[in-house]
Amino acid sequence: MNTQQKWTAYTTLLIREVLRFSRIWIQTILPPVITTALYFIIFGNLIGPKIGQMEGHNYIDFIVPGLIMMTVITNSYANVVSSFYGSKFQGNIAEMLVSPTPNWIILAGFISGGVARGMAVGTAVTLVSLFFSNLSIQHLFVMISIGLLTSMLFSLAGLINGVYARSFDDISIVPTFVLTPLTYLGGVFYSISMLPLFWQKVSLLNPVLYMVNGFRYGILGFADIPLWVSYLIIITFILILGSFSLSLLNRGVGIRS
């Protein structure tokens, strides 16, 4: 395949993925927007004023970046894991495997689909948050780049889950028992400086913390973690998971007998 043909294959995969989640927007876009709006109402407007300031910001303003990031993470992951496993389950993954499309383009297509959904939901949630908070973005580039990189990272994680999944149960176990706890304990609702020293150190083992804090820095100009550390951690994880995903596709794990 020449470069033009590879580009066609990539855009085909991307369009297919975007159409897939757009067709079922009631299942993919709407629920996270409603759930996050409820978070804004409950934690921001009802409980928030009683909590007071968090690191010099209103509580609602403090949690907005974390909540946006939470939806980006879960939706990027969910999109790729369900699309990849769905393709395996229905057998239409073979459409790609028999074609000359290189595995790295298949990987890029699925990941871009996950990023597209993560960004679509993230943007929708950001717009909704404007009704509840006084959002003023301090560093737009940081906000967008951390959002994109995080979305990419969790799309990769979703793909790995999809490769190994053998049943629909397998694609819900990781989000329920790993992703959700990591996200909730990743500083979405609190600053780790509130924790005792021991738990602060334990929290540093949670990769989601670096993403939430990087994103929060982009919006509020404040974070518990230095910005460069956030970038370093996210990019390192992307490289590790990206290489691993590609090696899984090259070896045909879970997709070729």
Partner: protein
């Protein structure tokens, strides 16, 4: 001439230890219509899976139009169109979209793929269904959709794994006509089927796989010529109570008006049979082959192997 498909010492052992292919050598010439036959579990689908990159081989080489599947993977894959045994498209995608996406995976731009999809869907009688989700199609339509999808990139080698399984006779016949026309236009076709009549009427060459080994690879004509015995069923005008077999053939009454006739082609002919029947003043209303000839051969050969 470059072979459309060349397999050398192809082996596959699955992770559970099952040795599905035990060193297959096979050559299919360009423009051929080739039947790959074998009982369930013989290794047909594994062979097709390896050629179409859906199954990892254990060892051996696969060349498609001289492109090595290991070292020239993209070029080799671009030559093949695959119609698998099971329906394997996204049932929630519209019919037209399935074809356009498949074209995209082969690097065909959307406008070009749309044009080709229109031609194929019209040829295969699916144009009216182009905007409908694939799940709404009937079984026969789904089969035709898989053929259209396999042809969107105009492959030089089309591989069909049981393409007419579960479709009614009318659709099967129209698919045969379509495939014959495609083959006449130069596309090499490899077919696996359980309908041996299908293989006999469509294919020029035949390979038989049994227990992971290619036990036969020859022309259909040559294979059928090996079959010496002929079996016919005659419907008689008047009932008979008994009948003796003459020297030239063997008679046996299935019922008073149905006569089974067997003879060896090397020593007798239908003329001799009719001569005997005329002498005995037995009137025949109609006659038919008792079994499909290829079916008989297939059973004999696979039976021997087992």
């Amino acid at each position: 001439m470059t072979a459309a498909l060349e397999l050398q010492a192809l082996r596959k052992t699955y992770s559970n230890g099952h040795e599905a292919l035990k060193g297959i050598d096979l050559r299919v010439e360009q423009g051929d219509f080739y039947a790959l036959l074998g009982a369930n579990g013989a290794g047909k689908s594994t062979t097709i899976g390896i050629v179409s990159s859906l199954v990892n081989k254990t060892s051996g080489t696969v060349k498609i139009f001289d492109y090595d599947l290991d070292t020239q993977r993209e070029q080799a894959k671009a030559q093949i169109g695959l119609v698998p045994q099971e329906f394997n498209f996204n049932v929630f995608e519209p019919v037209g979209e399935i074809l356009i996406n498949q074209g995209g995976y082969y690097g065909i731009t959307r406008p070009q793929a749309t044009q080709r999809a229109e031609t194929l869907l019209n040829q295969l009688g699916l144009w009216e269904k182009r905007k409908e989700q694939a799940r709404t199609l009937s079984g026969g339509m789904k089969r035709r959709l898989m053929i259209a999808r396999a042809l969107i990139h105009e492959p030089r080698l089309l591989i069909l794994d049981e393409p007419t399984a579960g479709v009614d006779i009318e659709i099967r016949r129209s698919m045969w006509e379509f495939l014959t026309e495609l083959n006449q236009q130069g596309t090499t076709i490899i077919l696996t089927t359980h309908y041996l009549e299908e293989a006999e009427s469509l294919c020029r060459h035949i390979g038989i796989i049994a227990k992971g080994e290619l036990i036969e690879n020859t022309s259909m004509k040559e294979l059928l010529s090996r079959m010496d015995s002929e079996h016919y069923v005659f419907d008689l005008a008047k009932p008979l109570e008994t009948i003796d077999s003459p020297e030239c053939c063997r008679f046996s009454l299935r019922d008073p008006q149905t006569l089974d006739v067997s003879f060896l082609r090397s020593t007798s002919s239908l003329n001799e049979v009719f001569q005997v029947l005329n002498e005995r003043q037995i009137e025949v209303i109609s006659m038919r082959n008792r079994t499909n000839r290829l079916e008989q051969l297939f059973i004999d050969m696979v039976g021997e192997k087992q």
